[in-house]
């Protein structure tokens, strides 16, 4: 077989492949470009993994974070967790500088991300948040 001819096939295949890969990468990356417009948040949500008190929220329920979400026992919070172990104003999640921040508001029993107690932390999709016995995960699915 004449290799110089075969090499024509190879070089075209390699170049085409690499550009398909680049297009793929662009497709994945463009997702956060679309969301990254100023003034808008990324539209992430919380998914209820385990609801301790079975009152207002059910397992698997999806709660949009919006630009700010406050969590606590007090009725004025956006998300109310009636459990005794939850402080009145327990924690808040807000969108700032292109990312979501979770801030503990000096709660008595603390806020945990992936098992670690935090005061303030930026969130990533997949992070697991625990307040008292209630567990959410952060998700970026549409």
């Amino acid at each position: 077989m004449d290799f110089s001819s075969l090499s024509v096939v190879f070089r075209i295949v390699l170049v085409v492949l690499i550009f398909i890969i680049i297009l793929y990468a662009l497709k994945i990356i463009s997702k956060d470009l679309k969301r990254g417009k100023p003034g808008k948040n990324l539209g992430w949500k919380l998914r209820m993994e385990y609801s301790a008190d079975k009152s207002s929220l059910e397992d698997g329920e999806i709660i949009p974070i919006g630009s700010k979400l406050t969590i606590g026992r007090n009725k004025n919070n956006q998300m109310v967790l009636p459990s005794r172990a939850v402080s009145n104003f327990h924690a808040k999640i807000y969108f700032e500088d292109g990312r979501y921040m979770l801030e503990d508001m000096d709660s008595t029993n603390g806020t945990f991300v992936n098992g670690n107690r935090v005061d303030k932390k930026s969130l990533q999709p997949g992070d697991e948040i625990r307040i008292s016995e209630t567990v959410f995960t952060v998700t970026d699915d549409d």
């Binding site: 077989m1 004449d2 110089s4 001819s5 024509v8 096939v9 500088d97 292109g98």
Partner: protein, 471 residues
């Protein structure tokens, strides 16, 4: 650091722009500048690519082999053999891994070393079997016998002869002297490069000479175009033209021609008459010279022609104006430029694109490109061209160019004796065409330091034309 997101965005944009600029430059470099860079003789890569293909053959118009690749005895390598030797050296150029590649070999290299036969398509077409890697053959317009005649006629003189077909612009002969043997570059390279006679220079297309009186043809055309009634105007040639400031212009041998018209002035080559025209025409002569493509690129095929020069003088520079009217001052022309002037007059004022290649055949013998003749442009009207033809016929029949006569053929022409700075002996010029009725070929001859145009150059023209018409 509060504006971090915005700042990072700005930095990203700056880098995006820089990456984009670099990619654009790379594209420009490879696609626009690349082809020119790749063909530089010091690029060893191209030689490796060329060596994979048996280089195509260059033929003359009758099918005689001029340049072929032959297998070296004892090794698998090929060597370029020039059957025409020094006779066709400048027209064909040379192809040598050590010294590079020039002339037609260079300009048609992409065909001669074409590896289309090594391509994927050829491979598939041949039933997935390896195809003989042979480049395309180039059929040149040269007539080897005519070329040889011109080469011999120039003898040991330096100079050039260019012969064109009047109706197509095909180059039948293109000789430059001194020449060299392209088969023995290795042996002679040092002397070739160092010689002050620059034998490697193709004088036909790159030699710039003062055209002298042969340029009077252009001045005459300009006069017909711009001065009404010049044909019948009488002028008193007293043998001297006063240019002011103590400078004068005189005829050869100080001749006094008396009351003459344009026709006689051209036939007898009156410097006084044409010097006066140069002054009268002012910048109209500049325009006519540009029409004949002085100062301009001449479209061509298989050769690259250096620009001939006609400077623009201010109207008060009377001396230069007069000198330019007789092809002196700083007027410079290549031999092929002068041949094209003759060709244009012979072809009713239409200049044809000079071409060195007729057709290209691929490795199977199929013609893949057949080159048609094309016009450069209508330089002057058919009427004026025909008037000048009449005068040029007179030049050869009874004027300064009688030595160019060929038995049985009505030859037309114009002689020139060009002063130059290198030595006191002038260059000898002749431009012309034949026959008078239905011209077939046009010619330009220059013999460096050959003395009177009516002698050396006209004789060479006579030999070349005899050969063409009486084979």
């Amino acid at each position: 650091m509060d504006n971090l997101t915005n700042n990072i965005k700005r930095i990203m944009i700056i880098f995006l722009v820089v990456f984009f600029v670099l990619i654009s430059y790379l594209a420009y470099f490879t696609l626009v500048k690349g082809p020119e860079i790749v063909t530089r003789p010091d690029n060893r890569r191209m030689w490796d690519i060329r060596n994979k293909v048996v280089r195509g053959t260059i033929y003359d118009r009758t099918g005689k082999e001029l340049s072929v690749s032959e297998k070296k005895s004892g090794s698998g390598e090929y060597k370029r053999v020039y059957k025409g030797g020094a006779v066709t050296a400048h027209a064909l150029g040379y192809y040598d891994p050590q010294y590079g590649i020039t002339g037609l070999e260079n300009l048609y290299d992409s065909y001669l070393s074409s590896n289309i036969s090594a391509s994927l398509l050829a491979w598939i077409g041949n039933g997935f079997k390896e195809v003989n890697k042979k480049g395309d053959d180039v059929y040149s317009t040269l007539d080897y016998q005519l070329q040889k005649t011109a080469y011999d006629a120039l003898g040991s003189s330096k100079g050039s002869v260019v012969v064109l077909k009047v109706d197509t612009g095909e180059i039948l002969a293109m000789v430059s002297k001194p020449s060299y043997d392209p088969n023995n570059l290795n042996k002679n390279w040092e002397t070739l490069v160092k010689s002050k006679n620059v034998p490697l220079l193709n004088r036909s297309v790159s030699g710039l000479y003062p055209p002298g009186s042969t340029f009077k043809v252009v001045t005459a055309v300009s006069a017909l175009e711009n001065i009404e009634g010049i044909k019948n105007e009488t002028f008193n040639d007293k043998g001297k033209l006063n240019l002011g400031g103590g400078y004068t212009l005189s005829n050869d041998h100080g001749e006094v021609l008396g009351k003459i018209k344009l026709e006689t002035a051209l036939v007898k080559s009156s410097n006084v008459f044409f010097g006066n025209l140069g002054i009268r025409l002012e910048n109209d002569l500049y325009k006519t010279a540009q029409d004949f493509r002085f100062n301009k690129d001449i479209p061509s095929n298989g050769i690259i022609i250096d620009k001939s020069r006609f400077p623009k003088y201010k109207t008060h520079e009377k001396g230069n104006m007069a000198q330019s009217g007789i092809g002196q001052a700083e007027v410079l022309a290549t031999p092929i430029q002068m041949a094209l002037i003759a060709q244009t007059i012979a072809n009713d004022g239409v200049m044809m694109k000079p071409t060195l290649v007729n057709k290209i055949n691929d490795y199977k013998g199929n013609t893949i490109q057949s080159l048609k003749s094309s016009e450069v442009e209508q330089v002057t009207s058919a009427e004026y061209a025909s008037e000048i033809r009449k005068y040029m016929r007179e030049v050869v029949s009874k004027g300064t160019g009688t030595r160019a006569q060929v038995s049985g053929i009505q030859v037309c022409g114009k002689t020139g004796t060009a002063q130059h700075i290198e030595s006191k002996t002038p260059h000898s010029w002749f431009i012309g065409f034949a026959p008078y009725k239905n011209p077939q070929i046009a010619i330009a001859v220059i013999v460096e330091e050959g003395g009177y145009g009516g002698v050396a150059a006209a004789r060479i023209s006579q030999k070349v034309m005899s050969r063409y018409f009486h084979k």
